[in-house]
């Protein structure tokens, strides 16, 4: 008995540290970052530099371009150079915060970098994914919009755009009438006015903070005056032309449509600095095989097509999307796996249109934070938000009404939901959102194509001829070329090439023994072109008839499936 306990204690002593790591706890992180709070652009820069300094063998930080106001768009590259060249590994591109107010996206990105590094060498899954893959992570691709949201008064939904002046109301003036934080509480809330006659609303008898609309014929004692602000340009409307006013997630080239069809699209595809910088990076990195863009809110794992006019993705690709998406629903409670145009709305020129439909990259958009998380239940009640504010946030989401003398409306009251109250995670839930979404991305990254040489055989045929047969296998779910990519000829096909000897015939082996068929290759015999790549967990066998006994070399090259070079010796 005693010995058993001793052994247990000994075992615990021996394996204690790895066990801790495997449960995901970091008792002593190398870089301490709090994930229950948010960071502005300068702070993000500091965190990224700290991490780069802590893990220089894996991380390199670069600026892929400048925002309209000249902020750097940071991108962290994560790779293990010892396990292969960057362009010979499948890469995952992750970004967030293209909409300035969708701030938690950046913390998810930062967490992903941090988690991969902290757990490298501790968790086998993490070590493998870092060794096998490359990550390109851009935490905030709209740093102007982000900082504007943090440092200026906003609502939960405002500052979606960048800050390039735009004439939103078509009056020839730029950003001349945005909202004002009249009561100075840091949020743009609502205005109401008590009136003697003609009121449209009255106080809710159950909760006088809120208003209810009066019934027809009933006289109310309040009118609502919309969001906080004044009519700066004296055009009879207020807050109709605030800062920016475009949508950089509609400025991508695939299925781009002008503003009158797609609001916020911009003057032409990639006319805005930030999407153009991201686009240039993606175009220059054909090894990107997976894409992830973080947004808020609603708890969604979205895939394309972006709109109903675009044909549904090929069946082979759908199986891939569905498998990752459905697993994602388990990793991310209260998230639903959805199709953008069908389950949400039509999008032209979205980033996912560009990645998935333009370039054939398996891509998702996650909408972070969802209301069922107020009380961890899908069974939602109408007063969830109020109750969450009062019982869980202890009033932190709501600004009580206070009197204010308005230059146009006279004596009014200002109050209501503040800017943190709906789309952004409350701080204490942020870390969980970061981790679960990171886990989802790592699943996606793991399923990127990984091609290995499964088998090879050299057989003498006599007359100085040899049959060289090579089988390549994609061990993962995502094909080395998606069905979309091969259908529309996006990017380059995969190639498998035999060097050494003179190739006199080549063929692709289809069917299985004993009903094997060999489809002859017509041209470029030594370098066989695989337009549809190597499918999901599939094998491809190629054979060459070669004249000349020599050590042969086989090279497989795939933009997204990596590269293999192997010498084949005659047994």
């Amino acid at each position: 008995m005693l010995t058993k306990i001793t052994i247990l204690i000994l075992l615990a002593g021996l394996f204690g540290a790895p066990l801790l790591a495997q449960t995901g706890r970091q008792s002593d992180p190398k870089v301490n970052i709090a994930f229950n709070r948010y960071y502005d652009h300068a702070e993000i820069g500091d965190l990224l530099r700290r991490m780069e300094k802590a893990w220089p063998e894996f991380l390199s930080l670069s600026s892929i371009g400048k925002s309209h106001e000249g902020r750097d768009i940071w991108l962290m590259t994560i790779q293990n150079k010892k396990t292969g060249a960057e362009f010979e590994k499948a890469a995952m591109y992750i970004d967030g915060n293209i909409h300035g107010n969708e701030v938690q996206a950046s913390e998810v990105c930062i967490y992903t970098i941090w988690y991969l590094m902290e757990n490298y060498g501790k968790l086998e899954e993490v070590t493998k994914v870092v060794d096998e893959r490359v990550f390109y992570i851009a935490p905030s691709v709209n740093p102007d919009g982000r900082d504007y949201w943090f440092h200026r008064a906003n609502t939960s939904s405002s500052s979606r755009s960048g800050t390039q002046p735009t004439d939103n109301d078509g009056d020839g003036l730029f950003d001349e009438d945005g909202p004002e934080d009249l009561d100075g509480d840091g949020s743009i809330t609502r205005m109401r006015k008590k009136v003697a006659k003609g009121g449209t609303h009255k106080l809710d008898p159950e909760d006088p903070r809120f208003m209810i609309r009066v019934k027809a014929g009933e006289e109310g004692d309040y009118i609502l005056l919309g969001s906080e602000g004044i009519d700066n340009d004296a055009d009879g409307r207020k807050n109709e032309d605030g800062i920016g006013g475009y949508d950089m997630n509609r400025n991508n080239p695939t299925d781009w449509q002008p503003n009158y069809i797609q609001r916020g699209a911009g003057w032409y595809p990639f006319s805005k600095n930030e999407p153009r910088a991201v686009g240039a990076f993606v175009k220059a990195h054909p090894n990107i095989a997976a894409g992830q863009s973080y947004h808020n809110s609603g708890g969604m794992i979205l895939r394309g097509p972006g709109n109903a006019k675009i044909p549904e993705y090929p069946r082979g690709d759908l199986a891939v999307y569905d498998e990752i998406g459905r697993k994602g629903e388990r990793i991310l409670p209260f998230y639903r796996y959805m199709i953008i145009h069908k389950d949400l709305y039509n999008v032209h020129g979205g980033f996912v249109n560009f990645l998935a439909e333009g370039l054939g990259i398996v891509s998702f958009t996650n909408e972070l934070w969802s209301n069922p998380r107020y009380f961890m239940s899908k069974d939602r009640k109408p007063d969830d938000r109020k109750a969450f504010n009062d019982l869980v946030m202890l009033g932190g989401f709501y600004k009580n009404w206070s009197p204010f003398t308005h230059p146009e409306y006279g004596e009014i009251e200002i109050g209501g939901w503040n800017k943190w109250s709906s789309r952004q995670n409350p701080g204490f839930t942020l870390e969980e959102t970061c981790h679960r979404n990171c886990a989802f991305s790592l699943l996606h990254a793991k399923e990127m194509p990984l091609v290995v040489m499964d088998d090879h055989k050299i057989e003498a045929l006599g007359d100085g001829l040899f049959r060289v047969r090579v089988t390549l296998k994609n061990e993962r779910l995502i094909p080395s070329r998606t069905a979309h990519a091969s259908k529309y000829k996006c990017g380059l096909p995969d190639f498998v090439e035999l060097r050494g000897g003179r190739v006199v015939a080549a063929g692709r082996v289809t069917g299985r023994y004993p009903n094997e068929r060999i489809v002859p290759i017509e041209k470029d015999l030594a370098r066989v072109r695989l337009e549809s790549g190597i499918g999901s967990k599939a094998k491809v066998t190629v054979e060459w008839i070669v004249e000349g006994r020599a050590p042969y070399e086989v090279e497989f090259r795939s933009q997204k499936g990596g590269a293999i070079r192997r010498s084949l010796k005659i047994p």
Binding site: G279, K489, K523, D524
Partner: protein
């Protein structure tokens, strides 16, 4: 044959900038200019412009792939526009259009193989600046002229420098025709170093033409009635292929394909966002992927006063005006893209077509679709009337038999692969080239049309006859076909003739630009302290203040008539009146207001349209 068989190139090498050559009808010959000469010529025009009421400036729009400058030349009256009182400067629409002059934008050289447009545009600029200042100012009528003669300088450079041919002897050149820019495209998508299997000038005649390889398995035959032309064998008609048909080349990379990775780039006239065709290498990876395309879109974005564009290129919407499309669905918030031109805007094109006819300007060929072109973008997305003119194009299609014509009307002809984009032009040789049988036939009997004569002459001379050749890989073959450039660019003498008509045509366009006039307000006292003001606003220009598509796409913007008066003094009528568009010629707005005031009060009325400087009328109450 030597490279000198390229008529225009030869002329240029020999004569340089030929300006003295006289044609039989006194039209000076027009030279084809290298990109450097275009840039230099534009700068010289700006530098030499007399300072007599005109501002002439060169604007660098951007740079091409190979770093060549892309320039615009801007000509406008130097007279300052009336100042806007400070009180009105905060009013958006007034401020927005302050300082604007309606401009005519002329764009050429989008396709690198059509040099004629560039020469014409340069000619128009030079001729315009030669006019006595009084005349040019009067012509402009307060408007501006912007010219972009060469959007694709890298493409145009091929005409002078030839194409990359690694097998050329030192000092020799090989010429091939292509519209693209200088982007490197991996046409065969084999990931090998780019341009590893470019077409080569096998027979050393300086021209890259086509090869016919005798092969009973081949898919091509000679057109029975016109054996120099080539078409795909129609198996259903019992035709059997007799040869394979490739561009003049060797299989340099040993992959079994011939000349499959030429050194030509992305076609700018496929790279604009309207009608962009995705997943097509000629169109580019995505819309506006090319620096040249981006350059002109940024340029136009900064010049919302551009009221009309004239594009010299492959597409033509005046030779054969496109059919009007069914109106798209569109509510206030959600709008569908139109599938074709609006009937209202089609009517506008009819007017310009007639103008061209009256000026004897070329009404050549409708070379198919405008998808992805600057012209399409200019109309559909920028929303201004857009005239597209194809100045010269030899009909390279096989003659249709009478019986076939009836049968195959509208169906696409399968012929030379190079002709793909032109397949729906199908213009008939025996018909006058402006397509209007009666009038022009009558005219052509009286006076020979040098362009038409040249077209039929070129139809013969621009073809290099098939000659046997011993191919190092394919054995006995024939080499021949259309000579590069000659089917799309006339001789310099004929170019001069075309230029004369184009200048006459352009001169008439300024008067067509929108011209909103505001009649003096009529004031009547209705009672003590109560007045009525009436105002009549009319568009006297030949185009609407916003064409139908310009109003639909919400880019052009309305006409604003604003009474500058405190709310409490306005009894009837609106102080701010928005009119979506004032139609060409007749578009009118009648304003009527009833106001409070007293004798001697001064009231301001603003009229602002999108493309021109706002106008101010002052009313003094009697």
């Amino acid at each position: 044959m030597r490279p000198t068989s390229l008529g225009p190139i030869f002329l240029l090498f020999v004569c340089g900038l030929v300006n003295g050559l006289k044609a039989q009808d006194e039209a000076p010959a027009l030279s084809y200019m290298t990109p450097a000469q275009v840039v230099e010529g534009m700068r010289r025009l700006a530098a030499n412009a007399k300072d007599e009421g005109l501002d002439v400036a060169v604007v660098v729009m951007g740079r091409s792939h190979q770093g060549r400058e892309i320039l615009a030349l801007e000509i406008q009256p130097s007279a300052t526009l009336p100042a806007i009182p400070a009180s009105a400067q905060t009013k958006g629409l007034i401020k927005r259009s302050a300082g604007r002059r309606p401009a005519l934008l002329i764009v050429a050289g989008e396709a690198g193989d059509r040099l004629i447009g560039t020469s014409i545009a340069m000619h128009l600029a030079a001729k315009f600046l030669e006019l006595p200042p009084k005349e040019s100012l009067e012509l402009l009528g307060g408007a501006a002229l912007y010219l972009v003669p060469q959007l694709n300088p890298d493409g145009a450079a091929r005409y002078f420098e030839g194409v990359f041919d690694p097998e050329l002897e030192l000092g020799k050149r090989a010429f091939a025709e292509n519209a693209g820019n200088a982007r490197t495209v991996d046409w065969d998508r084999d990931g090998r170093s780019a341009n590893e299997d470019v077409p080569v000038d096998l027979d050393g005649d300086g021209l890259i033409t086509m090869m016919r390889i005798p092969d009973p398995e081949g898919a091509w035959i000679a057109v029975p009635d016109e054996p120099r032309l080539t078409k795909k064998a129609d198996v259903e008609k019992g035709e059997n292929g007799t040869f394979r048909y490739f561009i003049e080349s060797r299989d340099r990379d040993g992959d079994g394909d011939y000349g499959e990775n030429p050194s030509w780039g992305v076609h700018l006239n496929l790279n604009f966002p309207r009608g962009f065709k995705i997943h097509d290498l000629s169109s580019g990876l995505h819309a506006v992927s090319e620096p040249e395309t981006k350059a002109i879109l940024d340029y136009v974005h900064a010049r919302p006063n551009i009221a009309m564009t004239l594009v010299y290129g492959a597409y033509d919407n005046l030779a054969k005006i496109p059919k009007a499309a069914k109106a798209p669905k569109g509510g206030r918030f959600r709008r569908e893209r139109p599938t074709g031109i609006w009937s209202e805007d089609r009517a506008l094109l009819e007017v310009f077509r007639k103008m061209r006819k009256d000026e004897g300007a070329v009404l050549g060929k409708n070379a198919g679709s405008d998808d992805g072109s600057f012209a399409a973008w200019s109309y559909y997305q920028f929303g201004v009337p857009t005239l597209a003119v194809n100045l010269f194009e030899v009909d390279t299609a096989a003659k249709k038999k009478e019986s076939d014509k009836k049968k195959a009307k509208g169906s696409k002809s399968k012929s030379d692969p190079k002709e793909k984009s032109k397949s729906d032009s199908e213009s008939k040789d025996d018909e006058p080239r402006d397509g209007d049988a009666d009038t022009s036939k009558a005219k052509s009997e009286k006076k020979p049309d040098p362009v038409k004569e040249h077209l039929s002459e070129r139809k013969q001379s621009a073809f290099s006859a098939w000659r046997p050749f011993d191919h190092p890989q394919l054995g006995k073959i024939e080499i021949g076909g259309w000579k590069p450039y000659l089917t799309k660019n006339p001789s310099e003498v004929v170019a001069g003739h075309i230029a004369r008509a184009e200048f006459a045509f352009m001169k008439q366009l300024f008067a067509k630009l929108t011209k909103v006039t505001v009649a003096s307000p009529v004031v009547k006292q209705l009672a003590n302290g109560l007045y009525e003001i009436r105002l009549h606003v009319v568009n006297e220009g030949g185009i609407p203040t916003a064409c139908k598509q310009g109003a639909y796409n919400r880019i052009v913007g309305p006409v604003l008539i604003e009474l500058d008066l405190p709310k409490d003094r306005l009894v009837h009528g609106r102080s701010r009146n928005r009119v979506e568009s004032l139609a060409a010629k007749a578009g009118e707005f009648h304003g009527r207001w009833v106001i409070r005031g007293k004798s001697g009060d001064s009231i301001l009325i603003w009229v602002a349209e999108a493309k021109a400087h706002p106008q101010l009328k002052e009313v003094v109450l009697p």
